[in-house]
């Protein structure tokens, strides 16, 4: 339903790393579930212990991760792979930049600054960071910065007003 249609399929090696991550996670879930109390001393049967269901889920995740790992090895996870191209690296850098900006805004600015100000700064920096190109003329940069500032202030103020006064939501 929401599988991306436009990116290439992951390599067998990438699948192997994902499988390793899921396996480690599944095993951790089993271990933590096993350490949960069973409450049998209070007269309740063992099959309603709090760790039973998550432990089962952890076991299934681990088994499926093992199947994915074996499949990725059979598909050549240990064979030499061609290096990722420049466009793939650029794409990853853009994603990383968007990720960092979103985390800084939502995780650290919201709640510490008034929402309209945090929103205005975030929108301004986001637009400028993604519209900036090396060797950009200073005039174009100044115009883009002006547009970004206007969008940032307009969005911050407009969204705060809309949600506080129309949707009656207390802003963070």
């Amino acid at each position: 339903m929401t599988v991306a249609h436009d990116s290439p399929p992951p390599s067998p090696r990438a699948d192997l790393f994902t499988a390793a991550g899921f396996l480690a996670f599944g095993v951790a879930v089993i271990v933590v579930s096993a350490q949960m109390p069973t409450f049998t001393d209070q007269g309740t049967p063992a099959y309603v212990a709090p760790g039973i269901v998550p432990g089962f889920h952890g076991t299934v995740i681990s088994l499926l991760a093992l199947v994915l790992a074996v499949r990725s090895v059979l598909r050549g996870a240990f064979r030499p792979m061609p290096g990722s191209g420049g466009s793939a690296r650029r794409s990853l850098l853009r994603i990383a930049l968007a990720c960092v900006l979103a985390i800084v805004f939502s995780g650290f600015m919201v709640g510490r600054l008034p929402f309209w100000l945090a929103a205005a700064i975030f929108v301004f920096v986001f637009i400028l960071a993604f519209e900036w190109r090396p060797g950009m003329a200073s005039g174009v940069l100044a115009r883009d910065a002006g547009i970004a500032a206007a969008i940032g202030l307009g969005t911050g103020w407009g969204i705060t007003l809309l949600f506080e006064h129309v949707f009656l939501i207390r802003m963070p």
């Binding site: 929401t2 949960m36 952890g58 995740i61 939502s106 969005t155 969204i159 949600f163 963070p172």
Partner: protein, 508 residues
């Protein structure tokens, strides 16, 4: 029958007021805009709006959410036709013939036919829902803990198998979703599972912030990694549909409507699968098969009818079993719980008129969609030209408010961030998101009914495998897992094909 019609009439009359009209108009518009913007999905639209309509009167809030859902699924076709990029995954099938038509200078005709197909699709699905849901609800009343456990298992399995891509990865994220639903206090002993002393984690992971992260922030991050979009078709022409097109393809419309509705009823499949299933069926049955993919009116109308019929289809299991048919329907179901309605078999016992209220809401949303389909073409072209770099930070703001709004907890903003980053990584590794969401929704159903069933049967698992409905659901679940193993399905096909060839030879 007359009782049902009078209940529907009563609900339509009840909804006929200025407040509803105002809410329907802005919500459908918002849905179409969300759907038409590549990177924003119907699930995100419904999830965000659930947070924002939290303080509204329940009926108005559900009407708004249905309008956003209906509008967003339809809105995706605008960018599919004009940009060759589906606005939502549901509109992927519409690009196959919609964009070739636009390139031939027939963008207006394509948009007109997609509007008509979408309108008729939702109408067909709504009528099927009004006729079938009461019978299904009666049937669902016979379900006990054992059956409901298998309904949850079947939902995860079928969603993992058919949600698109690799079934193995579908099962993995399905079980990840089931695991996430176990975080927090358990229902038997109130023991805080996986909380590690953190009171926020002991309260559990909220579905809405997780959804806003997995479908909102993850989409923004993924979209920012893609190259810029160029080539909006700007010449549209008349969008009024030709009655001849509708009359000529009425069989395709009816077939696609029924396929879309049926696909919608299967847990977790959703509108994208419905559109492709309807498109494939239309192609097989068409006399103009060679035109498919080159700008076929029939192909476009099939895809649009199928995806839009799926919306009411996905609501059928929500209302009768409390099992969502699609990811946006999962959010809608969560919103119903938030507003104090309890979807499921008992809903139609305690408030039988509520089914017809939802039917009336769908019909009203469908009419608003038709209105905008004919009058909102040019403003949408302007919205589609907004650069992604300027639009996406605004979506991040909305995601942050959406995650925070329902409970006013900063913890939920962190949940949104974690699910956003996790969703982006899983998406890049081709893990479908629908099974995870379904897992989170069905986790409680599975956990509660498994423990309840074991308690009733004194620890015995036999009733889970001996009751008739359980046997059917268990066979379907195991069957679809086994059939999804490539080696098994290839062997089965080899076994079936010689038989088919022999039968064909004996016939003639």
């Amino acid at each position: 029958m007359l009782d049902n019609l009078s209940m529907l009439g009563g609900q339509l009359a009840d909804q006929a007021n200025l407040t509803t009209l105002f809410n329907v108009l802005w919500a459908t518009f918002a849905g179409i805009v969300v759907g038409s913007l590549p990177g924003l999905t119907a699930t995100l639209g419904v999830a965000l709006m659930t947070s924002l309509t939290f303080s509204m009167e329940p009926n108005q809030a559900i009407q708004v959410l249905i309008c956003v859902y209906v509008g967003a699924i339809y809105g995706g076709s605008r960018s599919a036709i004009l940009l060759n990029i589906p606005g939502t995954p549901a509109s992927a099938a519409s690009t196959l013939d919609g964009f070739p038509l636009a390139r031939q200078g027939l963008a207006g005709r394509a948009m007109g036919i997609s509007t008509t197909g979408s309108w008729l699709g939702t109408l067909t699905g709504t009528l099927v829902m009004a006729s079938l849901a009461p019978f299904l609800a009666n049937f669902a009343l016979s379900f006990g803990s054992y059956e409901l456990f298998w309904v949850a298992v079947f939902g995860i399995v079928i969603s993992g198998t058919l949600a698109g891509g690799d079934p193995l990865k579908g099962y993995m994220v399905g079980f990840l979703g089931l695991f996430i639903s176990t975080i927090g206090q358990d229902s038997q002993h109130a023991y805080p599972r996986f909380a590690f002393g953190n009171p926020d984690l002991a309260g559990g992971i909220g579905l809405l912030p997780a959804l806003v992260g997995a479908f909102g922030l993850a989409e923004v991050l993924t979209a920012m990694g893609r190259p810029p979009v160029h080539g909006v078709v700007t010449k549209v022409g008349s969008v009024l549909p030709r009655p001849a097109d509708v009359a000529r393809y009425w069989r395709t419309i009816l077939r696609s409507g029924l396929i879309g509705t049926f696909t919608g009823t299967l847990p977790g499949l959703g509108e994208e699968t419905a559109a492709f299933a309807a498109y494939a069926a239309a192609r097989r049955a068409s006399r103009e098969r060679e035109k498919f993919g080159q700008g076929s009116i029939e192909g476009l109308i099939a895809a649009e009818t199928g995806e839009s019929a799926c919306v009411p289809g996905a609501m059928i299991p929500v209302l009768t079993l409390a099992v969502p048919g699609s990811a946006p329907a999962a959010v809608l179901m969560a919103a119903m719980f938030i507003h104090g309605l309890n979807p499921g078999p008992m809903l139609l016992v305690t408030t039988p008129e509520y089914l017809y209220r939802v039917v009336a809401m769908l019909m009203i949303a469908d009419m608003a969609k038709l209105f905008y389909g004919f009058f909102l073409v040019r403003p949408l072209l302007l919205i589609l030209r907004v650069p992604r770099e300027r639009l996406m930070p605004v979506i991040v703001l909305l995601c942050t408010i959406g995650a925070y709004a329902t409970t006013a907890r900063v913890f939920n903003i962190w949940v949104m961030l974690v699910f956003g980053v996790l969703g982006m990584v899983l998406r890049r590794m081709k893990f479908p998101m629908a099974p995870m969401i379904l897992g989170m929704v069905l986790g409680e159903l599975l956990d509660k009914n498994l423990l309840r069933g074991l308690t009733i049967a004194n620890g015995s698992i036999l009733p889970f495998f001996t009751r008739p409905i359980c046997i059917v659901l268990a066979c379907l679940s195991f069957g679809s897992v086994i059939f999804s193993v490539p080696a098994v399905s290839i062997r089965l096909r080899r076994l079936v094909r010689p038989g088919a060839r022999r039968r064909a030879a004996s016939l003639g």
